[in-house]
C-alpha cells in the first residue's frame, strides 16, 4: 500500500516535469495557428485556423527560408568536413607511431578546455585579413577542426577496428590512403554519424559567431533571423512570431526524433543502455 502510494507520487512528479518540458513547445505550435487577437484574448490548448495567414505574415516580414538555407549550408559543410578530418585524425592517432603524437593528442584534448568565444575578437580580425568577413565560409572554417569529435572517434576506432585488419590490408599491398577510405572509413561511419549529429545541432544553434561575422541580411543564419523576430515584437503579430520560432526549430526536432537514442548515448558515453 505504502509502496504503491510512493510509486504514484513518483509518477506524478515525473509527469509534472514532463509537462513543463513539453507545454512550451505545444503552446508554441498551437499559438502558431492562432490569430494575434485570439492570443491576446487568452491561453488555449486547441489549435486555431490562422496558420496560413501567420505563414504569409512571417514570410513577408522576414527571409525565413534564406536563413534556413544559409544555416543548412553551413551546418552540412561543417558536418562533412569536420567529420572527415576528425576521422583521418583519429585513424592517424590509433594506427601510427610518430614523434610528438602524444603531444599533438594532448593539444587536441587541452583545446577542449578553451571557452568557445575566447578567440572571437581575434577571429574577427583574421576574417578581415583573409577577406572572408561577412561570408558563410568564415562560419564553416571556424567549425572545421572538431576536437571533441576527434576524442570520441579515437575511442570508437580503437573499439571497432582491429590492428590485424589494417596489417592484413598492408600485406595485400593496399596504400595507406586506400586502407583509410576502403576499410577504416566504412567501419568508422556510425561513430562519425554521431559526432556529425552533435556538430549539426551545435552549429545550427550557434548565435554569437554569426552575429559577429555576418552583416548582410541575405547571409543571416536562422538564429539571427529569429533575433530579428524579437526586435519586431512591437508589431505585436504574435501568431506569426510563434510560427516563426516553430519553423526555426523544425530541423532540430527532426534530428531529435530520428536520432534521440544516438544523442543520449553520446552524452552518457555509452554506459546508459545497459
Amino acid at each position: 500500500m505504502k509502496h504503491s502510494l510512493i510509486k504514484l507520487a513518483i509518477y506524478a512528479f515525473l509527469v509534472g516535469v514532463l509537462l513543463i518540458c513539453i507545454v512550451p513547445f505545444y503552446l508554441m505550435i498551437v499559438n502558431g495557428t492562432r490569430s494575434a487577437a485570439d492570443i491576446n484574448a487568452g491561453v488555449s490548448f486547441i489549435p486555431g485556423s490562422y496558420l496560413v495567414q501567420n505563414f504569409k505574415s512571417i514570410t513577408s516580414q522576414l527571409n525565413m527560408f534564406t536563413g534556413l538555407r544559409n544555416t543548412a549550408v553551413v551546418c552540412t559543410a561543417i558536418m562533412i568536413v569536420s567529420s572527415y578530418v576528425a576521422g583521418l585524425t583519429a585513424f592517424s592517432i590509433v594506427f601510427y607511431e610518430y614523434r610528438f603524437k602524444k603531444l599533438l593528442f594532448g593539444i587536441i584534448l587541452a583545446s577542449l578546455m578553451l571557452p568557445q568565444a575566447l578567440g572571437l575578437i581575434g577571429y574577427f580580425d583574421l576574417c578581415i585579413k583573409l577577406n572572408i568577413l561577412d561570408t558563410l565560409s568564415a562560419l564553416i572554417f571556424a567549425g572545421a577542426a572538431n576536437a571533441a569529435g576527434v576524442f570520441f572517434l579515437k575511442q570508437y576506432t580503437q573499439s571497432v577496428i582491429p590492428l590485424a585488419l589494417i596489417q592484413a590490408a598492408r600485406v595485400d599491398g593496399a596504400s595507406e590512403l586506400r586502407i583509410f577510405h576502403r576499410i577504416a572509413l566504412p567501419m568508422m561511419l556510425p561513430g562519425m554519424a554521431s559526432i556529425g549529429i552533435f556538430s549539426f545541432v551545435f552549429n545550427w544553434n550557434n548565435y554569437i559567431l554569426p552575429l559577429t561575422i555576418i552583416s548582410t541580411p541575405e547571409k543571416y543564419t536562422i538564429s539571427m533571423i529569429i533575433n530579428q523576430l524579437n526586435s519586431t515584437v512591437y508589431f505585436r503579430d504574435f501568431g506569426a512570431i510563434y510560427l516563426g520560432i516553430a519553423i526555426s526549430i523544425i530541423p532540430i526536432l527532426v534530428v531529435f526524433v530520428l536520432f534521440s537514442k544516438v544523442i543520449i548515448k553520446g552524452i552518457a558515453g555509452g554506459s546508459i543502455d545497459k
Binding site: 576528425a86 583521418l88 575578437i121 581575434g122 526586435s231 543520449i264
Partner: protein
C-alpha cells in the same frame, strides 16, 4: 618500411592541425595580443600595454556584468542540479522500477538541443506582461495581478535562471544517470537485502560513488554559465535596446559586455581584454574547485 608508413600516418593528422592552428588557436593568440592594443576594428592596432586591463578592473559596468552573471548562474545551478539529481535517482531506482524511463529521459533532455536564441524569443512572448501566456494562465482576466516577469531587474534575472535550468537539467540528469547505472547492481541488491532505508542507500552508496561525475557537472556548468550569452542577449529586446541588458542592465552578462564593447562601441582591444579576464576567472575557479573536491574525496577515503 614502417618508417615510411608512419610518415604517411603523420600526414593524416596534418589537416586537423592546419584548420585548428589557423582558425582556432591563432585567433586566440591574436585576441591576447589585441588585448594589449587600442584596436578599434578599422585602424592598425597601437600597443598600449596593460591599459585595457587596468581600465577594465576599474570599470563599474564590467563589475555590474560580473555580478549579473553570478546572480543568474547561481540560482540556476542550485535548481538545475537538484532537479537533475532527483530525476536521475527516481529514474534509476531499483525498488520502484519506473516504466517509460527512456521516454522521460529523452523528453527531459530535449530543451537542451533547441536553439537558445529561439527559446529566448519564445519566452519573451510567453512572459510578455500584458498578453503573455503565463500571466493569462495564472491570473486570467485579472490584469491587476499580472507580474512584470521581464520588467523588473531581479525578476528578469530569475526568469533567465529558470530558462537555463529548463534547458540544462536534462543534460546533467543523463550524466548523473550514467554514473548511477555504472555502480555495480550488487551494491544496491545487498543494501536491499540488509533492509537499508532509501536515504541511507543514497547517502552511503550512490552519492560517494558518483562524486567524480558531480565534480564534472559543476565545473562544466560553471564554465558554460559564466559565458552565458544567447538567452539574456536576445531577451533584452526592442530594436534600440538589443543587447543592452534592460531592465536596468540587470541581464547584461560578461559575454554580452564583451560583445558590446567590441562590436557595438568598436573597442576591440578592450573586448579582447574582457575575454581574457573571463578566461582567467573561469580557470581560477575551476582549478580551485577541482583542488577542493579532490581534497574532500581524499578525506572520505
Amino acid at each position: 618500411m614502417y618508417k615510411k608508413i608512419n610518415m604517411i600516418g603523420f600526414i593524416f593528422i596534418l589537416p586537423f592541425f592546419l584548420f585548428f592552428l589557423t582558425f582556432n588557436l591563432y585567433p586566440i593568440i591574436q585576441t591576447l595580443y589585441l588585448s594589449f592594443t587600442s584596436f578599434d576594428g578599422y585602424q592598425d592596432p597601437q600597443f598600449i600595454g596593460i591599459e585595457n586591463y587596468i581600465n577594465l578592473l576599474k570599470d563599474p559596468f564590467f563589475w555590474k556584468a560580473f555580478g549579473n552573471t553570478w546572480a543568474i548562474w547561481l540560482p540556476n545551478f542550485l535548481l538545475q542540479i537538484s532537479l537533475a539529481f532527483l530525476c536521475a535517482v527516481l529514474l534509476t531506482n531499483i525498488r520502484y522500477k519506473v516504466k517509460y524511463a527512456g521516454l522521460f529521459r529523452a523528453v527531459f533532455y530535449f530543451p537542451n538541443l533547441v536553439t537558445a536564441a529561439s527559446m529566448a524569443v519564445l519566452f519573451t512572448v510567453f512572459l510578455d506582461w500584458q498578453t503573455g501566456a503565463l500571466n493569462q494562465f495564472l491570473f486570467g482576466d485579472d490584469k491587476s495581478k499580472y507580474i512584470y516577469w521581464l520588467g523588473k531587474p531581479r525578476n528578469a534575472q530569475l526568469v533567465i535562471s529558470s530558462i537555463q535550468t529548463w534547458m540544462w537539467f536534462g543534460h546533467n540528469m543523463i550524466l548523473i544517470m550514467a554514473a548511477i547505472i555504472g555502480i555495480p547492481q550488487s551494491y544496491f541488491e545487498a543494501a536491499e537485502i540488509d533492509g537499508a532505508s532509501q536515504p541511507r542507500v543514497f547517502f552511503k552508496i550512490t552519492l560517494p560513488l558518483i562524486f567524480p561525475i558531480l565534480t564534472f557537472v559543476v565545473v562544466t556548468s560553471l564554465i558554460g554559465g559564466l559565458q552565458l550569452f544567447d538567452i539574456p542577449f536576445v531577451m533584452s529586446t526592442g530594436p534600440a535596446l538589443q543587447g543592452k541588458g534592460e531592465p536596468q542592465q540587470a541581464i547584461i552578462t560578461m559575454q554580452a559586455f564583451m560583445y558590446n564593447s567590441g562590436f557595438v562601441y568598436n573597442r576591440m582591444g578592450y573586448a579582447a581584454a574582457v575575454s581574457f579576464v573571463m578566461f582567467a576567472i573561469i580557470s581560477i575557479i575551476s582549478v580551485f574547485y577541482l583542488k577542493v573536491s579532490q581534497r574532500l574525496l581524499g578525506d572520505e577515503k
